[in-house]
Symmetry: C2
Subunit: 445 residues, 2 copies
């Protein structure tokens, strides 16, 4: 960790050389964390005196609003240099987060060509492949020789963010393929790029959902993903670190959905209590209303309950076990669907697997339930009812939790619907019916 | 998708050229899926006639046992070529998955130097950084000139898997830093590597947990992670695709744990029903036994229940809502802890946030609960009991679900303990006590 106090002291001494020397031993990510904790004046002082490429790397990790505040208050020359060094996808995100007029002012500091490309990036909706693309890649024409390509790399290479590959385009800017820097080094100077280009490059349309792009990247073990427009023209390239962020975000969303709430849009502390409320109350209310069905069921069996009050002792236990079984099954399956291990066409294999497992866990639980009922001192025939119900509810929960995620996946419905609390609620009402039906039969009520 | 039938037909025609032409338009991952569906004889025919580098790329995606079967049955010359082209981390995994004698036989086909390095890789336990490392990287000495480094790259570069960076080592093999291929191209031929090496490279010890390595990679936006031994000597390099697999695995494990089961060790269909049973029954039983406590509570309030049987109608509704609230909170927090958004020292901020949210959702639910009770036709004072209990249980569940994950995280206990079903079970028993206490007070029983 970087000592904030040491940083503050060095800044107070106003000795640029020692500040730069201090900064050089740390990573941009950690420096950004440190910058967040400095006073606004110190932030400007630090980012104003560092070389623009280092300032740019640090600023990239800050929140858009802070990025803008700093860039807006630095001297114009430094602002322009830092802005030029920043990743174009980060700059586009910042521009979209600030007011249009503020963005215009900053954009005016950039060369026209770069500005135009940035403005294209800014047109892609959030969560699409296009919104993640950077334009700081190296492109070359397929008719160029290796020699000419190397000259080009030497000329523009120091500004590129994507440094392992050269993207090869045809006459109309269409993506022809990709050549690794390694293969450029291995090739003879007179070779044409078209001779060594690897043509089966995987590219994605700008409109593709970012999670789909992330899935392609993981499946094919790629380190960068070129983004094309409808005419196959290269628009930009997505780097692996942006897709790793997407993978993390998707997992966080899946976990929050499985927990029975709509996903938060920000991180934990950056989301307000009201945001928490809004994301949670909807499902809580839906499930609450659905759960009131249990009241109707119990009221229906009021006479049975009054007759054998001991039956009520086991209600939470039995429906709780059903809910637990359902939650286990649903979380395993929803994840397996998300990573593509299971498809709808596997539905019968899934049912067989889950119900067989339910039969085994149910039988185990059933035995313990029977013993527990006897220990609690209820009559042995009530113990029998509890044991048989435990088995039936576990199997029922396994079946429901196996089938519903697959069907909703097939219907392309929001997977958020199938959460642990959802299955628990569903099993609660139906489980009570199973319980009282078995009780009436076995106790002859 | 690749047509299996077309592949089978082409193989039946025994025309190597047309098979190779057909294969070239597909990705290794998809070809591997196709190979899995061929007959054993066709598998051998296909992988025997393809160029060794393409066969190697395909074989890398197969399961270790199938990898071995194929490598063992190909002609020895082809086996040796394919084995040499395969990623060293994949080869090490395969060697560890097969019998020692089988591994010895295959290892004998490799050059001695490579074999020794592979044997080192094979010593690292599963789930450590060392077990993910590949030795197919390019290393250079810090005293080399750019010219000499380029010669070296031209000599060994075509075998390297890591192609964007050159790892620079000192006299004793210790890791000095890293230079990108781009910077090598940009530098003058006579420059020494020591002059352009970036010294603040992030490396990890071979014994580091793989998830920690994955976290470093995401945090610092890296594309490869060098692995060192206790003496700072470079052992290998982890590529980003292996760490993306780790990120996926960790998320899958977290989801399964939050769902109340121990994580499966394999994918969905590759895990047996008995494996499912073993991973699920432990928590089901623990929770079942814990949940029997609800029976004890209900038995304790048997007189109250007999007196006002209508109270039992709301038991599943009230404890269900508590469980839903707890599950929402716990899933959000466990994920926030996993990705490092929340720490133990934030405990009071977390409690304030969760309890305030609980107050708001609880008040909403409470109102609906009161109305629902009136609609169900119970007396209005029972409606009041239900409304007040709903509020109390939601706040209680928010508090418990906020505190427990943080405490267990602090104690470095297995986070699997805090699952949705766990919180649900905990809230069930305590929720009943809250319910009957409020009922006794408000109804004057």
């Amino acid at each position: 960790m970087i000592s904030i106090d040491e940083m503050k002291q060095l800044l107070a001494q106003s000795d640029p050389a020692s500040v730069i020397a201090f900064v050089e031993s740390f990573q941009p990510f950690d420096l950004a964390n440190c910058v967040e904790k400095l006073d606004p004046a110190e932030q400007l002082q630090l980012l104003g005196l560092l070389p623009p490429d280092i300032s740019a790397e640090i600023v990239e990790y800050l929140e858009p609003v802070l990025q803008y505040r700093i860039l807006n208050q630095l001297e114009e020359k430094q602002t322009s240099l830092v802005l030029n060094e920043m990743s174009s996808d980060v700059v586009a995100d910042m521009m979209l987060a600030i007011h249009r007029n503020q963005a215009e002012k900053l954009l005016a500091l950039l060369p026209e060509d770069y500005r135009r490309k940035l403005q294209t990036l800014m047109t892609f909706p959030e969560h699409t492949a296009g919104s993640l693309a950077t334009i700081d890649y190296i492109a070359a024409r397929s008719m160029w020789t290796i020699e000419r390509t190397l000259q080009h790399i030497r000329k523009i290479g120091h500004e590129a963010e994507i440094t392992s590959y050269v993207y090869v385009t045809g006459n109309k800017g269409e993506l022809v393929g990709v050549v690794s820097l390694k293969n450029i080094i291995l090739a003879e100077p007179k070779t044409l790029l078209s001779d060594i280009v690897s043509g089966d490059v995987i590219s994605v349309p700008a409109s593709m959902e970012q999670e789909e792009a992330a899935e392609l990247l993981s499946r094919y073990d790629l380190v960068a993903l070129p983004v094309i427009d409808a005419k196959n023209r290269l628009i930009g390239v997505i780097t692996v670190d942006d897709l790793i962020d997407v993978i993390h975000e998707e997992a966080t969303e899946d976990i929050q959905k499985l927990g029975g709430s709509q996903p938060l849009t920000g991180t934990y502390f950056k989301s307000s209590v009201f945001h928490f409320y809004r994301k949670r109350i909807i499902w809580l209310l839906i499930l609450f209303v659905a759960e009131t069905y249990t009241g109707t069921v119990l009221r229906h069996y009021e006479d049975t309950l009054s007759e054998v009050i001991a039956l009520s002792f086991f209600i939470p236990l039995l429906i709780g076990t059903g809910g637990n079984t359902g939650t286990q099954t649903v979380s395993t399956l929803v994840r397996a669907l998300a990573v593509g291990e299971v498809q709808f066409r596997d539905i019968f294999r899934v049912i067989r697997k889950e119900v067989t497992t339910g039969l085994m866990t149910g039988a185990t639980i059933s035995l313990i339930a029977y013993i527990r009922a006897l220990i609690l001192g209820v009559e042995s025939n009530i113990g029998l009812v509890v044991g048989v119900t435990a088995l039936a509810i576990v199997i029922w929960a396994s079946f429901v939790a196996a089938v519903l995620p697959l069907i909703l996946h097939k219907l392309k419905a929001d997977p958020a619907v199938i959460s642990g609390p959802f299955i628990t609620t569903l099993v609660d009402g139906t489980g009570l019916i199973i319980y009282f039906t078995i009780a009436k039969i076995l106790l002859g009520l």
